[in-house]
Subunit: 448 residues, 2 copies
């Protein structure tokens, strides 16, 4: 039972997952996708590794190309087409054909907005100089790669010590650049607590990153339109390349002047089925809200996993199914060189803000049995509700084999497990994989 | 509130975990441990890696030595003392001092039996020849190591394709031996289903193991008391070293002629607090029963993790606490060279026996994003109850980063999650760690 023509705005993870799911369920339905860039279904998270030269060709980051969607799946994907207006009453979108610089109106019966997110680019003096890049679409990654190829910069400055910041620090160190990283916070990775983040900062400094915390960006100096240095409230640093890792914001401007409501951090408001406040109009991925399973409130999280799940759930509901997206725990994972980093749930910082009473264990253990070759350090922080021991959050920093252990904590949190429940878990043990008590359990034992 | 003198029989994982826990809770209580071997608290699971030379010194496998227990923890550990009788009525144990070849009776107020398990050594002709080894205590590992050092065997035969068998196959290949492995079953790793085990067998053959399945051991030939070849129902193979990996049995003979009951596979019957059928007598570790969380019946599993958990729970209960050991899922993990292997819950084979209707997904995915360096194959099998989708079991075979993913499945099973619950999990994703859908979720998606 098709609900007529489906128009999808945005051809990356969420949009194309949804379109593909609808196509599988409804082989004859008309599906049109407008994508303002050149690419579809690409792995934005892979850009730092492409820039570092670990991935040889940007095409490898593309899961499926527009032509494949058109030919194999009969999905009418039109790249370089930007949707600039939605007329909710007449059920039409205004589309700009970027290549031909023309516009037209396209009708829809159902609409899915999957416009993603964009890097925050505050209005600092000189920020539009050449050599200063944010990372969002695959094209921005290609732009950075080409700029490095052409100009061989030796001195790089990264603004912001979040995921993008530390992944790009690794990438640019790999390219033999001198790397300076500023953050206005007193720590890197502000989604983690300072004690865990300090372990990361220490390793970054040991690895050669000039790391300056508690420093506010002031401006960029340029010569002939090209960046030459970065000024903070405390120093000036030469820069031939600047990466902005100052966070992202949802691309929700399309809803301005429409009855489609926005919510947390300006993301498009959706229910658990991913329908917006306007029936027949859906939103998914980085542009849309999610529900936080532990905070039990709306949240906004721009991550590839969430976008893929959103896309699948929206696709199921768009094709006559009935599925809710339960929500997220705030899980994230990354690495800096050999140091693996992950987190889920709430941090101590977030819990203090929320007023929930909690207890914390932070332990150091080993990734493998101490005597087994390659055994190395792992630090695990586990946070539980004070009165009932329910796990509220976890953070991991350690070497090979550390970070993916966060999935045990994610699963335990989602199931409402206590610290004692984690101690009781029949987790796997053999010397090449773990000490006899998995480090996650060693942390949990401190909480019972 | 001490319950008087505690006597512990057996000084490995379960016994010493319990004794240490009691000492922490009851600093003044009298604790005596009798251990028939020379060593305490050693990592039996590390023996194959010690034999292979990856662990330089057998002392590294010892977590804590008898003298340390005596001096730092005031636990009266007596090695080379074997308990040979229990008189339940007078609350005494008969102890043989092996070194002095004398016996004496020692009184107890509470008794913990933690006697472990021993390799099965069926009565085949020639099985007592020199050069034929089972692996159980640390001493047996040291014996194998010394035998190899002294005789430099070039041709090794392993009987049994379970955990010990495949770990020893890796170890002996590492030592440049020609390795032949027999199993009477049509597959290796009979705790897994044949389709998954076949992936392991294929890799073992590619790595140079002469693997013969469906072959029954017949006898051993020896010359001057030393093994020279192994005969099966189909062939004769030269052997200068033989490792028996034919399974283990609980060491429960001590309960013969006492009112202490035994149960599953002859293991000592215990309640969830690990007390035996005789009040005041407890049992923990490889000699004791466990409860199977999915089968919902008593089971017997001889593994280091379980022994450590048993020890902790027994220690808590022995020192006035009140804690139950909920049970096990049947989790196990190992590797053969670069191939990682893990399983939990019930296999298809076990489900067929139990009559529970189930559905299965078996997928091949990647350990990391396909484009990320080091991305490699991972196979995941997930089994769910047919009518409600509840996860019943999981099996994983794959390369670096594969096997520890079983912990997500363990946690999900323990929490009673369905396949859809796994699809919904906010598991961690970044290119160096996973495809955007974790392989466990890719398998779960096939079940919804």
């Amino acid at each position: 039972m098709s609900k007529g023509k489906l128009v999808v705005v945005g051809g990356d993870a969420a949009g194309m997952s949804a379109a593909s799911k609808v196509r599988r369920e409804q082989p004859d339905r008309e599906i049109v996708v407008f994508e303002r860039g050149n690419h579809t279904s690409y792995a934005a998270c892979g850009m730092p590794y492409f820039i570092a030269g670990q991935v040889s060709d940007s095409d490898q980051l593309i899961a499926r190309k527009p032509a494949v969607f058109r030919e194999k799946q009969n999905i009418d994907v039109r790249t370089r087409h930007e949707v600039i207006n939605i007329d909710v009453d007449s059920k039409k979108v205004e589309v700009r054909n970027i290549k031909e610089d023309s516009t037209f109106w396209e009708s829809y019966d159902e609409l899915l907005i999957a416009t993603g997110a964009s890097p925050i680019r505050p209005d600092f003096e000189g920020i539009d100089s050449d050599g200063i890049f944010g990372l969002s679409t695959l094209q921005t990654g290609i732009d950075v790669f080409k700029y490095i190829e052409k100009h061989s910069p030796k001195k790089a400055v990264i603004v912001g010590g979040g995921y993008i910041g530390i992944e790009m620090a690794e990438a640019l160190l790999d390219l033999d650049m001198e790397v300076t990283l500023f953050d206005m916070a007193p720590q890197v990775m502000t989604t983690m607590d300072k004690d865990m983040a300090d372990l990361i900062a220490e390793y970054m400094r040991e690895s050669g990153v000039n790391l300056f915390l508690n420093e506010k960006l002031d401006s960029f100096e340029a010569k002939n339109g090209t960046v030459t240095s970065v000024l903070t409230d405390q120093r000036e640093v030469e820069a031939e390349l600047v990466i902005l890792g100052m966070g992202v914001k949802p691309n929700a401007a399309l809803t301005d002047g429409t009855p489609i409501e926005t919510g947390v951090k300006g993301a498009i408001k959706v229910d658990k089925k991913l329908q917006t406040s306007v029936p027949g109009i859906w939103a998914a991925g980085d542009c849309a809200e999610s529900y936080h399973l532990i905070k039990k409130e709306k949240t906004w999280i721009a991550l590839g996993t969430v976008a893929n799940k959103h896309g699948l759930v929206a696709g199921i509901n768009l094709s006559g199914g009935d599925l809710e997206f339960p929500g997220v725990c705030g899980t994230a994972i990354t690495k800096f060189k050999d140091l693996e980093i992950s987190r889920t749930g709430l941090s101590e910082k977030e819990l203090e803000e929320s007023g929930i009473k909690y207890k914390t264990a932070m332990i150091e253990s080993r990734t493998r049995s101490g005597y087994y070759p390659g055994s190395d350090k792992i630090n695990v922080k586990l946070i539980a509700e004070e009165n009932n021991g329910k796990i509220l959050g976890g953070q991991i920093v350690g070497f090979a084999g550390s970070a993916k252990r966060i999935d045990t904590i994610v699963t335990a949190i989602t199931a409402g497990m206590t610290a004692q429940n984690i101690v009781d878990l029949d987790l796997s043990y053999a010397p090449p994989f773990s000490p006899v008590w998995d480090p996650v359990q060693t942390a949990a034992r401190r909480l019972v």
